[in-house]
């Protein structure tokens, strides 16, 4: 069962542009939504995360927008840089009720930022 759907599969953006990646989830029990960044040959690294009682969270050039009623959340990368070129994964977790913290990942988006 695909619990977290991510789009687009790939994205090409010019340097300085805005990159937008979208995710949708099905399980309303999810209560934590992190985004991970993965470079080739490396493990995923936490970029930014949000809880469903907040509609937006910003950290530097990275912003998560969260729409609980639509069961959707998105990552916005402002002023995209070539160094942002990587694969991005959204994820969801049933954390507070299950207390395991296991992550359900989307399929990933490969971002290429052209100089």
């Amino acid at each position: 069962q695909q619990q977290v759907k991510q789009s687009p599969q790939s994205l090409i953006v010019q340097k300085g542009g805005i990159s937008i990646i979208n995710c949708a989830y099905e399980n309303t029990a999810f209560d934590y939504f992190p985004w991970y960044q993965q470079f080739p040959g490396k493990g995923p690294a936490l970029l930014i995360a949000i809880r469903p009682d907040v509609s937006e969270k910003k950290e530097g050039r990275f912003t998560i927008s969260f729409n609980k009623s639509a069961k959707q959340f998105s990552l916005h990368i402002m002023d995209s840089q070539p160094g942002d070129s990587a694969t991005y994964f959204c994820a969801a977790s049933i954390f507070w009720s299950s207390n395991t913290g296991k992550l359900i990942f989307g399929q990933g988006t490969t971002l290429q930022v052209k100089p």
């Binding site: 040959g41 690294a45 936490l46 994964f89 299950s98 207390n99 913290g101 296991k102 992550l103 990942f105």
Partner: protein
């Protein structure tokens, strides 16, 4: 300090063989997770350890897969009678004990398993 380490970085084996993949978590992290990442896909949860015990093994695909963490630190993922479909990158992550606040999972670089 040191991050999560995994050995070997690459493992090539033949169909039907047995393999062991090792994970060294960050010191002091009581929670340990194994995930499997197939080519072009997001990581899929396999098993979660809290200390020495497997608190959630719901992601293990079948009984050929088994994991242990005997002393609450290093963990070994064991795969018996490997099949070509087992080829993937196996990721390990560790975190502080899940509790009142969400604890970030730190991932290792993974072990790339290829079953010929």
């Amino acid at each position: 300090g040191a991050g999560v380490s995994q050995t070997p970085s690459n493992k090539v084996t033949e169909k039907g063989k047995y393999v062991e993949l090792r994970c060294d978590p960050i010191s002091g992290h009581t929670a340990l997770y194994w995930y499997r990442q197939s080519l072009g896909q997001g990581p899929e949860f396999l098993i979660y350890f809290q200390g020495t015990g497997a608190a959630d093994d719901s992601g293990l695909p079948n009984d050929r897969f088994f994991a242990v963490r005997p002393e609450g630190s290093v963990s070994t993922l064991k795969i018996q009678r490997t099949e070509r479909g087992d080829s993937a990158v196996y990721l390990c992550a560790s975190s502080l004990t899940p509790g009142k606040t969400y604890n970030e999972q730190f991932f290792g670089p993974g072990t790339r398993l290829t079953v010929l």
